[in-house]
């Protein structure tokens, strides 16, 4: 068997799955976004009403503004925390064993249920939660702080909690590949620790930062569970609008929303991919 033919055979299962469960469903969404619907069913058609309604509704624009706010804020915080944690593991821990232990410690929460991790903030942040009780016992506030739960604060806190790891892992990966001699050379040339970080380490971990950014951005942009649970239904996001339309069986409207969201995400990705060649960096 020729090399190329066996490669096709080996790639075929992955290709088949991607076509059936990714490509065709996406085409399906695009088609259905032009369909008509009533309270009972969806009707094949070619109308622009779904988009027309979507793009002229102030609810949509508000949801996009909200979602972008969540995405940018979560991105900035996860980047700061993720970079610092990765930097600590890569440059301050001296043995591979301690690096592995810390890396595992940071990775394990990612492998448990997101919804459970969200709910677990409730006993901490609620009106009678641990944080409010502590603050009041210490006399810092006289009444419970209401903004802690069911607010933009709790939504972003949950995003940071869920997704910081998506920053830590790729940044740690690219930091581990930095030749330590470069750092030593910079120090020998008289660079301060801060200069080493900003002029050697940050530029060389650029691809990790970009990959982490892509993850956090796309995860937050499409999210609806976190926003629903952590805002207590008080805030909307693009994903949540789509989810609500699905719940109401308004599939063509949901599909139009999904196509618009996909377009937005793809544009952002196109911009981000200019900063890193993912395939080369693997």
């Amino acid at each position: 068997m020729s090399n190329e033919r066996s490669a096709y055979l080996q790639a075929l299962p992955l290709f088949t799955i991607m076509v059936i469960f990714l490509v065709i469903p996406t085409i399906m969404i695009v088609i259905v976004s032009f369909w008509d619907y009533n309270a009972f069913s969806i009707i094949p058609d070619f109308i622009w009403d779904n988009y027309n309604f979507l793009l002229t509704s102030s609810v949509t624009w508000q949801a996009y503004a909200n979602t972008l706010f969540y995405a940018v804020t979560s991105w900035a915080i996860t980047l700061l925390i993720g970079f610092t944690a990765a930097y600590y593991m890569a440059f301050h821990l001296r043995t591979t064993k301690s690096q592995t232990i810390c890396f595992l410690l940071a990775t394990v929460p990612f492998l448990t249920s997101n919804i459970i991790r969200m709910i677990s903030w409730i006993p901490l942040l609620g009106r009678n939660g641990l944080v409010n009780q502590t603050l009041q016992t210490l006399g810092i506030t006289s009444h419970p702080l209401e903004f802690l739960l069911y607010s933009d604060f709790s939504v972003i806190l949950a995003f940071v909690h869920l997704y910081t790891l998506f920053m830590v892992v790729p940044i740690f990966n690219s930091m581990m590949r930095i030749d330590r001699k470069l750092v030593e050379a910079a120090i020998d040339a008289g660079a301060s620790p801060w200069q080493v970080i900003t002029q050697v380490i940050i530029p060389l971990s650029k691809s990790g930062i970009t990959i982490g950014t892509i993850f956090v951005f796309t995860l937050v942009m499409g999210d609806f569970i976190t926003v629903r649970l952590m805002s207590g239904g008080l805030s909307a996001s693009v994903g949540l609008l789509i989810y609500n339309e699905i719940s109401l069986l308004q599939y063509p409207a949901a599909a139009a929303g999904a196509v618009t969201l996909l377009g937005t995400v793809l544009i952002m990705l196109a911009i981000l991919f200019r900063f890193a060649n993912i395939r080369k960096d693997l």
């Binding site: 469960f21 940071a106 492998l111 249920s113 006993p123 009678n128 120090i187």
Partner: protein
């Protein structure tokens, strides 16, 4: 790596930062773990109102929280199926990508898109597709496919990392000794990369077991566990929710610890066989 042997001041600052980060990651989950042992009259917050396993027993009473046993079984079976399929397909595709073939770029970007496309789109698309074709969505059919769009990219990326470091001379040696391609795979490649395959399996299992967004429109009439939990968050206001959360987290942990134990055994076994030779 710092050159001097004494730790700079920043080390202690960063250690404290990292410790806080870990506390931030685990603290909330531990909190609901503790709260799940509330007494029968206990509520959703501290202080603890007695200690008991009351809420864990509640979980297994059919009418109390819906079909917990059924959804757990379905989620575990689905996760096992996803695990096996993910390992096989990732390995196969990983092998393919080591050679040059036309369309490899397209397939690569398709897989990356699958990873970063919003989950709700996958869910909606597959739901609509099955709906229009006239096939009933099921947790073992359409949900299996939708989970694979999430686990296969991770699997493939891990395989890339593995094969980048793979020493091809082992295969060349096997070929020189007249091994068939299948024998080379079976007796040389797979044993060498077995730890990573176990890792891919672990990823597949836990990602599927916890997956919610890609399941809502694809699971059909029977709930998986994450769907059950999501339903509970909106209408259950007792610590039974925490008991469920703690139990599912425990299962994820058991899967991780079990995998690490297998990896450890593999390593020991390999070390021993290497010594005997």
């Amino acid at each position: 790596m710092p050159i001097s042997t004494s730790r700079p001041k920043s080390f202690y600052f960063l250690t404290a930062f990292f410790a806080l980060f870990i506390l931030f990651l685990y603290g909330p989950t531990l909190t609901i773990g503790i709260l799940s042992f509330q007494g029968p009259s206990g509520g959703l917050t501290f202080p603890m109102n007695g200690w008991s396993l009351h809420w864990y027993f509640q979980l297994f009473e059919q009418q109390a929280v819906g079909d917990f046993g059924g959804s757990l079984t379905r989620s575990l079976l689905l996760a096992l199926a996803v695990m096996v399929v993910t390992v096989v397909i990732s390995l196969s595709a990983g092998m393919a990508f080591r050679k040059k073939f036309k369309g490899s770029g397209v397939l690569f970007y398709l897989t990356i898109v699958s990873l970063i496309i919003p989950s709700i789109l996958i869910s909606l698309g597959i739901g609509l597709l099955f709906n229009q074709v006239g096939i009933e969505p099921t947790w073992y059919g359409s949900a299996l496919g939708s989970h694979l769009t999430w686990t296969l990219p991770f699997g493939l990326l891990i395989m890339f990392a593995v094969f980048n470091r793979f020493d091809k001379s082992y295969e060349a040696a096997a070929r020189d000794m007249c091994a068939t391609p299948f024998q080379t795979l079976r007796y040389v490649v797979v044993p060498l990369i077995l730890p990573s395959l176990v890792g891919v399996g672990l990823f597949g299992f836990t990602l599927s077991y916890d997956e919610f967004a890609r399941t809502i429109m694809t699971a059909g009439s029977k709930n998986t566990l994450p769907l059950e939990i999501f339903g509970m968050t909106t209408n259950v206001t007792t610590p039974v929710l925490y008991a469920l959360g703690t139990l599912t987290t425990f299962i994820s942990f058991a899967a991780i610890v079990g995998t690490l134990a297998i990896l450890h055994l593999l390593k020991r076994h390999r070390a021993r066989t290497a010594m005997e030779k």
